[in-house]
Amino acid sequence: MAELLFWPALLLYGEAAVGYLGDVRRPGRLGRAATWGVRLGWLAQTALLAAEAVRDDGFPWGTWASSLDLFVWLVVSAYLIWGCRRAYRLLGLAVMPLAVALLVVARAGGGTGFGGSSRYSSLFLVLHVGLVLAAFAGLTLAAALSALYLWQERRLKRRPATILRRRVPALATLDELALRTVAWSLPLLTLGIAVGLARLLAQGERLDAVIAATVVSWVVWCAYLGLRLLAGWAGRRAAYLALAGFALVALVRLALPAGHFA
């Protein structure tokens, strides 16, 4: 019965995605409705995940599809921190369609139901999968902030007469938030990778392509943080680097079914 919670979550996230699209054309009521869609959809998905955890007596996200379900929840959770503010509604246009698409993929892969099992120990899953997915969610949000930065910067350069019509966060704010989000997410990714490597060594298994891509993305995000904090990188260059890092994160997420969960 609790599986039915998937549908309100999907419908409300879908409503939010459409609402944010409408808000671009006519800011106001649609944007507010979209924000409520995110909040209520998040509650429905939280209830679904909690029910899964209770029913499966532990950590039920051991398959790629169920981990995708958890990943969507983490991304929306991270978005909710800022998404309720009016100036950040545009960010929802980047986040919510992605959340809807990934939730549908998770459903198609059987990741939103009950009775999932894993060949891994629960402790390993909680630490490795939990940390890596939380980090990926943060990095996805940082990439969305960077995309919004590039869009707003392009507008400021092109100087349209309508530049002040829409409330968008200031360039400096977007830049700072992206940096802070990465600064929080990178330690989680580092720990998640370390736990995974420790288990790999203990089991005597080999590195695979997914692990290699994850490590490369970790290097890119380390470079992002280093260049920003030490070399004074900011603005457009940093935003492009964040998008490159996100491309690797997306690659790892897409490669998971063929790698870790095969």
Partner: protein
């Protein structure tokens, strides 16, 4: 019956030469309101650069209006033909439009709401003006919260400050370099300073180039408005400072004609250049946006005016309702007294039950007529209903 009266003039009716003759300072406005409020009246004097309006609540509207006209004519006799006179619903609707910024020169301007509040605080108010001014302030806040009428700047200087906020967010601690000091650039600098920015240097023809270049490496905003015949700042000069700026953004506002700043500066990484044409286009777009929002704001104001009208109209039937309730209660108590010999045999709890039942019967009988009277009060037949009720129930006949 207490009536609301408005007598005043504004930029719609009177040129500035006339308005300045009837403009009042805070103390003058307070004194005039106190003077007009004598004899049990209420009065508020709203005086801004665009309007001087007297709001009065009085039981004899004709003489109150005459006094208000005389008070303004005493300041300047020529103002009389430019005065408008509004009553009750019309006066309230006008005040709500004023508070919402809909009657302002620039629709949705933000200062007027504070000016209305100050006028109210300085006035001599009672039940009617308290209600209408509180509701006006509520309407003004509601319009600003539910529409985008006041969100965008309506002047070149305001647009420059809003652009700076789009780039930097909070302007607290940001520094400004002024190249030349024309009137518009001074206004723009003032607008930025009011948001927390600081002026690092005002450069004129005597300022050395090295000094300007040194400032360029550290400031956040450059505002240029010199009378120089050619470019004052080339793209190469700005480009040479970018390394020292370490990625910090630079907003450049060129208010001069001919332009002071090389248009190629806008192509540099982290530099955002706006000239006077860009700013004027932004302001024109903003104003058209405000006018679009004004239609939504008018609907909010009209709804508030209707609420006020209903409240004021209900005052007309309140005495009749009070008399009706008193009469019914009087009859109930009299009938209970008559039945005292029978009720004497009842114990305390039975007596209380009889009291409650009879009170309930009276309330139920009166409920619908009272609701209908209040509803009718908002329409034109409110007084007729009140008179009919008085006649049918013989209310007030004892006094006659």
């Amino acid at each position: 019956m207490r009536r609301l009266i408005l007598v005043g003039t504004s930029h719609h009716r009177a040129p500035v030469e006339l308005r300045e003759q009837v403009a009042l300072g805070r103390e003058e406005a307070r004194a005039l309101a106190a003077r007009l409020a004598s004899g049990g009246r209420e009065a508020v004097c709203l005086s801004t650069c665009n309007r001087t309006e007297l709001y009065l609540a009085a039981d004899e509207p004709e003489s109150a209006e005459r006094d208000a006209v005389a008070a303004l004519a005493a300041l300047e006799p020529a103002v009389e033909p430019a005065l408008y006179r509004l009553h009750d619903r019309g006066a309230a609707h006008h005040l709500f439009r004023v508070a919402a910024g809909l009657d302002s020169l620039v629709p949705g301007e933000g200062e007027i709401l504070g000016q209305v509040r100050h006028a109210y605080e300085l006035g001599s108010t009672g039940r009617l003006l308290d209600r209408v001014f509180r509701q006006a302030l509520h309407a003004g806040r509601k319009v600003r919260a539910e529409t985008a009428i006041g969100e965008s700047p309506a002047s070149v200087s305001g647009a420059a400050a809003a652009l700076a906020e789009q780039v930097f967010g909070s302007l607290a601690g940001r520094s400004i370099l002024l190249l030349g000091a024309g009137k518009v650039s001074e206004q723009a600098a003032r607008s930025l300073r009011s948001r927390g920015a600081q002026i690092a240097l005002v450069a004129n023809s005597k300022t050395s180039r090295q000094e300007v270049e040194a400032q360029l490496a550290s400031v956040d905003v450059v505002i240029a408005s010199t009378n120089a015949p050619g470019l004052v700042l080339e793209a190469e000069t700005v480009a040479s400072t970018l390394r020292r700026r370490r990625g910090r953004r630079l907003l450049l506002v060129d208010l001069a004609v001919p332009r002071d700043l090389d248009p190629a500066i806008g192509e540099l990484d982290g530099c955002y250049l706006y000239d006077i044409d860009d700013l004027e286009e932004i302001v024109a777009e903003t104003l058209s946006g405000r006018r679009r929002e004004a239609a939504r704001a008018e609907a909010i104001v009209a709804a508030e005016a209707q609420k006020f009208h209903e409240w004021q109209a209900s005052l007309e039937v309140v005495p009749a309702i009070a008399s009706l309730r008193a009469r019914a209660e009087e009859i109930r108590e009299a009938e209970l007294r008559k039945a005292e010999s029978l009720l004497g045999r009842l114990d305390e709890s039975q007596r209380r039950a009889v009291e409650a039942v009879t009170a309930q019967i009276v309330n139920k009988l009166l409920h619908l007529p009272i609701v209908r009277m209040k509803q009718a009060a908002a329409a034109t037949e409110g007084v007729l209903y009140a008179e009919t009720v008085r006649h049918l129930f013989g209310l007030g006949e004892d006094e006659r």
